[in-house]
Symmetry: C2
Subunit: 581 residues, 2 copies
C-alpha cells in the first residue's frame, strides 16, 4: 500500500527540510515549491467552507463537526498567513533558501476535506481509543490538497500537519511550502497523550489554560489533566459549596466559575483535547479546612514531613459522614457540568500519609489494617459517584501499590514513581498512564522551593537540589518509551502518558518556556512512537532539526517555547552539533 | 550614627513587609501609610525637575547629570504609577491588607534630590570603585522624601529604592507605601556587579539587551559583560571589516551597527550600567574564517573535542602578521566608538586549545614551550592596543592559570573555574571577578545541547546531563560569597562578580525567566554582601519574601522573571514553607 515513496523519504527525513512534529507514521515529500494564498477553496464533505480568523464553533454540548473543522481551517490559515515565520534559523547561513517570488508560481488551489464517518457523541468525550484520530493528507504538485479522516478530530490533526508545511517568505507577502508533493498517512501510537497542569499551587488564568490547550493541539496531544485543587488552594467555584473558592482561592475572584470551566472544556473539545479534571483526595486536599471545618485532618501540621510531602498537608477524615455529604454535594454540583465534555474524572490518591489519621478523632490510628478498609469504602463511594455521572475514574498508582485498594476494571491508573511500576500495573491487568517522574516531570531539577534557615537545615540540604533532579532535557523526555519492556499484550494496557507540570515554582510567566518544547518531545513519542516503523528508536539526529522547527513555529504562533539548539546548530546538518567519539 | 532604629528593624526584616532588593546596608521602616500621586514636587539640587514617561537623556558622550537623574525620576514614576502591582501574593490570604482610600490620606509631597559632588568624566565610565554609588534616602511621616548622593548613579540607586516602597492599590487609582517613615543609608559591597550575556551563540535584538540593562539597574547591578562574538557568530558590525558581520552574523541584518552599539552603551550609562564588551581571543573566534581567510586555524574541525570545547572551534593563528593587521584594523575601528562610555575591554582568553596550533602552518606544534611566547606576544600586543585607546584590559583566568602569561597590573582577571582559583589569583595580586560556574552560570543544568546518535554516543551520554549541572537555583546562587575564604586584604582585590548567561539554548524567548530572579540573588550578594552587618550569612528566611516581592515588581515592570515560591508560601511567614528537621 505504501511502498516506494516512503523509502525514498527515509533519507530526506535526516535533512532539515522535512519537518513535521510529531512525525507522521508515513510521509513522503518532494522538493517542488507551492505558494499559498487566502483565495484557495476549502470544502468539507463537498460543502464550501469559509474561514475567519478567530472563528469558534458555537458553544454548547451539541457539537457540530462541520463547525469544528471550519474552526480548524481558520486556525490553520491564521498559522500560515498571520503567525508564520521565515526559517532562517533552519537553513544554511547566508544561503539563498527562499523561492523566487518573481518567477511563475504554482499556488495551492484547494483543500478538499472529507470526513468519512459521522462523529457520534463519544467522539467529543472519548474513552481512550474510542475515537479514530487517523487521517491522510496529500498535496499534489499542481496544488490540490486532499484530507481524509474518519472523525472531525482526525481532520484537525490533518490541518495541523498541513499548516506545518508552510513558511513565510521574507518579502512578507508570500507564503510557500518547499515540500510538494506531499503524501501522509498518519495515526497515533497511543490514545492518551497528555499534559498535567497543576493550577492549584500557582494560579493560572483561564487564558493560560486555553493557551496550553492550543500548544497541545499543535503537537497532537489530546488530554489536559487539570490538577485543579490541592492543599495549597482551591480555585474551583462550586456554587453549592461557595466557601470553597471564597476561602480557598489564593485571592477572591481568582477562581474558575462554572462558565470558565465550561469554556475550558469546550475549548478543548473544539481542538481535540479532552480535559480530565482531578480533585485530589483523600490527601492533598487540606485547603478545604479553610472553608468547611471538621472534614480535614493535619492541615498545616508541622513539621510537615511527618504528615505529608509538602506543606500545608491536610487530608479528608476517612470515617466521616460529613465528608461523604460533602462529596455528594461537590460531585452533584460539578459532574453534570463536565460530563457533556469528558469521559473521565480523576480522584487523585497520591501520597496519602497514614499518620494523618492519627489526628482524626474518629480513627486515631496509622495502622494500615485500620485504614485500608476505610479507604476502600471511600474510594468505592467516590468512584460510584463518578460512574453514576457517566464518567470513568482515574487514580494515582499508590491506591494500588501502597494501599492495595480494589478498583473497578474501568479505572485508569496513573503511574509516576517509575521503576517497574507501569509494567507491574499492566501485568496486573490495569489500564495505565505513564508519567514516570524520572523522565516526564517537567518541573524538576531547578532546585528546592523550600526555605532553609541558616544552620542545620542549610547544611543538610545544601546545594538545595530538589527531589527529582536533574531537569529533564528534551533529549531525556524523548528517550522514554511509555511501554518499554512490556509484552505486546500488556503494552496495550498502557493507554499513553502525561508530562507533568507541578507548579511550586511555575506560573504563567515561565510556563511556556518550561513546558515547550519538552512536552512536544513526549508528544512525538506518544503520537509517533518511540520507535520508527522499522522498530528502531527514533534518533536525536532526526528529531532535533524537526523539533527546532516546531519550536520556531510555536513561538511564531504565540507560545514562548525554549530554543532547542543555537542557530549555529540548526543552520547546519544535525551532525554539525553532534557528538562523535 | 545609626543605632536604635536599625535594631528595631532587624526583627521587622523577617516579616514580609520590608521588601527592598537588594537590601540596603542600613534601613529602618515604620508602619504608617503614605499615598503618592503624580503631583508631588521633585527637585534636583534645588531645581524643580519634570518627569515624562519614556524621557531619555540626550545622546552623546557629554553626559548631563541632571538629565540622567531626571530620566531616573521618570522611570521611578513609570514604575510606581504605570507598572506597579497589587501585592496579594505577598499578604495573608483573604486579608484586608490595603489601606482604606476613603479615609484621610497623607501624600508624599516632595522628593528633594541632592547630588553633593559633581560627576567627573570617570563617573560615566568608571574603573571598579571609581564612582561613589552610595546614597541616603529618608521619607518622613508627613511625606517629605530626601535623597542625597555623591554621584548621579547614587541618585539613581536611591530612586530604585524609593520606588520599591510603593504598591498599586486594587482600586487602580491609588498608590501607597505601608512603610513610612523610611530611613536608608546604603552603598555597595562590591564595585563590580555584573551579568555576562552571550549574544554570539544566539542572536539578541538591541532591545533584548537594553531590557536586560533595565532589569540589572533595578537590581543595582552595574556591569553588562557583552560576549559579543564567538566561533558560532559575529554579529558586530565593523565598518572597516565589513565582511565580518556580513558573513559572520547568523543572518544578514542581524548585527549590531555602530549606532546600535553606541545606543547600548549610552543606555547603560544612563542607568548606571557600564558595558564591557568582550571579543574572545585567541580561541573562540573561528567565525572570522567565514569572512577573512588565513587568520584562523581549526575552524569546524571534527571531532570537535580534539580542538575546542564545542563546535565549531577555531582560533587565531598566533604567529601571523595578518592577524596582527586584522587586530589593528578591528581595534582602531571599534575602540574609539566605545571608549567614551566604558573603562574596559575584554580580550577573552578562555579555553584556548593547544592542539589548534598544530594545524597552523607557521607553528605546527602543541608544545607549551613553543606556544607560550607567541601567546605572550599576542596578549601584550592586544592589551597595548586596549591601553592605547584609554581602556583597561579584562581576561579570562586561563591566561594565567593555564598559560602563565604575564599581565599588566591593570588587567582584571575573570575566574569561572571555581575551586581555589579566585583565592589563588587574589593572593598572586590580581584583580579578580568571580564567575564561579558552580554557582553563577545560569545556563547550566538543563541538559546537553549536542545531538547524540543512537548507539555508542547515546549510551555514553545518557541521560544527557550537561557539564555544569545541576541548575543553579537562586538559593545556591545566593549562597556564594565571591570573596569567601580570603584575607581582608586579598578580598579587596575581588572587585565583584558576574553571573553568566551562555546562550547555547537561550534566546530572547526564555532569557528573562532563566536570568531573573536568579541574577537578582547574585545582585544582592554583590551589593549588600553575603553577610549582614552583624557578619552573619544572610538567611533564606529573610531573602525569600523580599525576592518574591522583587520578582512581582520585575514582572510588573515587564521582565518575565520566574516565580520564587508559590503563593501559598509567599502569602505566609517564610517559615510556612521552611524546612524544620
Amino acid at each position: 500500500m505504501w511502498s516506494k515513496p516512503l523509502l525514498a523519504v527515509a533519507a530526506l527525513a535526516l535533512g532539515p527540510v522535512n519537518a513535521l512534529w510529531p512525525v507522521p507514521q508515513k510521509i513522503s515529500t518532494g522538493e517542488k515549491v507551492l505558494f499559498i494564498d487566502q483565495t484557495l477553496d476549502v470544502t468539507y464533505n463537498g460543502d464550501s467552507i469559509s474561514y475567519t480568523y478567530g472563528y469558534s464553533p458555537s458553544s454548547g454540548s451539541d457539537f457540530s463537526s462541520k463547525e469544528i473543522v471550519q474552526a480548524g481551517v481558520s486556525r490553520a490559515f491564521q498559522a500560515i498567513f498571520q503567525d508564520n515565520f521565515v526559517p532562517w534559523k533552519l537553513r544554511e547561513r547566508n544561503s539563498d533558501f527562499e523561492p523566487d517570488v518573481y518567477e511563475t508560481k504554482t499556488f495551492v488551489k484547494s483543500i478538499q476535506i472529507t470526513q468519512t464517518e459521522k462523529d457520534d457523541a463519544s467522539a467529543f468525550k472519548p474513552l481512550a481509543g474510542e475515537v479514530d484520530e487517523s487521517y491522510t493528507l496529500t498535496l499534489s504538485e499542481d496544488g490540490q490538497a486532499v484530507i481524509k479522516a474518519k472523525s472531525s478530530v482526525g481532520c484537525l490533526h490533518a490541518l495541523e500537519s498541513f499548516l506545518q508545511l508552510f513558511f513565510k517568505h521574507s518579502s512578507g507577502t508570500f507564503w510557500y511550502t518547499p515540500h510538494a508533493p506531499v503524501s501522509i498517512e498518519d495515526e497515533p501510537k497511543f490514545p492518551h497523550r497528555g499534559v498535567l497542569l497543576d493550577v492549584a499551587r500557582s494560579w493560572f488564568e483561564v487564558d493560560d489554560i486555553k493557551h496550553t490547550i492550543d500548544a497541545m493541539a499543535w503537537n497532537k496531544m489530546n488530554r489536559l489533566h487539570l490538577h485543579v485543587t490541592d492543599s495549597q488552594s482551591w480555585p474551583l467555584e462550586i456554587p453549592a459549596l461557595p466557601k470553597l473558592a471564597e476561602e480557598g482561592a489564593y485571592r477572591k475572584g481568582l477562581s474558575y466559575s462554572p462558565e470558565d470551566i465550561k469554556g475550558i472544556y469546550e475549548y478543548g473539545v473544539h481542538r481535540g483535547v479532552e480535559v480530565i479534571m482531578e480533585i485530589d483526595m483523600p490527601g492533598h486536599i487540606g485547603v478545604v479546612e479553610l472553608a468547611y471545618k471538621d472534614l480535614i485532618v493535619a492541615y498545616n501540621e508541622k513539621p510537615y514531613q511527618w504528615w505529608c510531602a509538602e506543606p500545608p498537608c491536610g487530608a479528608f477524615r476517612m470515617n466521616s459522614t460529613a465528608v461523604y455529604d460533602f462529596l455528594d454535594t461537590l460531585f452533584e454540583d460539578l459532574f453534570p457540568r463536565i460530563a457533556p465534555y469528558t469521559a473521565y474524572f480523576h480522584t487523585g490518591g497520591d501520597e496519602l500519609n497514614k499518620n494523618d489519621s492519627m489526628l482524626d478523632p474518629d480513627i486515631q490510628s496509622n495502622d494500615t489494617e485500620v485504614l485500608t478498609p476505610l479507604l476502600q469504602t471511600f474510594i468505592d463511594y467516590a468512584h460510584g459517584k463518578v460512574r453514576d455521572a457517566g464518567l470513568t475514574p482515574f487514580v494515582w498508582e499508590e491506591m494500588i501499590t501502597d494501599w492495595n485498594i480494589t478498583l473497578g476494571d474501568d479505572v485508569v491508573v496513573q503511574s509516576w514513581l517509575g521503576g517497574t511500576a507501569v509494567k507491574d500495573l499492566a501485568e496486573a491487568g490495569h489500564k495505565v498512564i505513564n508519567s514516570d517522574y524520572n523522565f516526564w516531570y517537567l518541573d524538576c531539577g531547578r532546585g528546592q522551593w523550600l526555605n532553609f534557615e541558616n544552620g542545620e537545615a542549610f547544611q543538610t540540604f545544601y546545594p538545595f537540589n530538589d527531589w527529582c533532579g536533574p531537569s529533564k532535557s528534551w533529549r531525556l523526555v524523548y528517550s522514554h518509551d511509555p511501554a518499554a519492556g512490556l509484552s505486546k499484550e500488556d503494552a496495550k494496557l498502557v493507554l499513553g502518558g502525561e508530562v507533568a507540570v507541578w507548579s511550586e515554582t511555575i506560573d504563567a510567566v515561565n510556563l511556556d518556556s518550561l513546558v515547550w518544547p519538552r512536552a512536544s518531545a513526549a508528544g512525538e513519542v506518544l503520537w509517533s512512537g518511540r520507535q520508527d516503523s522499522a522498530g528502531q528508536n527514533r534518533s536525536q539526529y532526526d528529531a532535533a532539526p524537526r523539533l527546532a522547527e516546531m519550536r520556531e513555529r510555536m513561538v511564531a504562533r504565540g507560545v514562548r517555547a525554549s530554543p532547542v539548539q543555537m542557530p549555529f546548530c540548526t543552520q547546519g546538518d544535525p551532525s554539525e552539533c553532534g557528538y562523535t567519539p
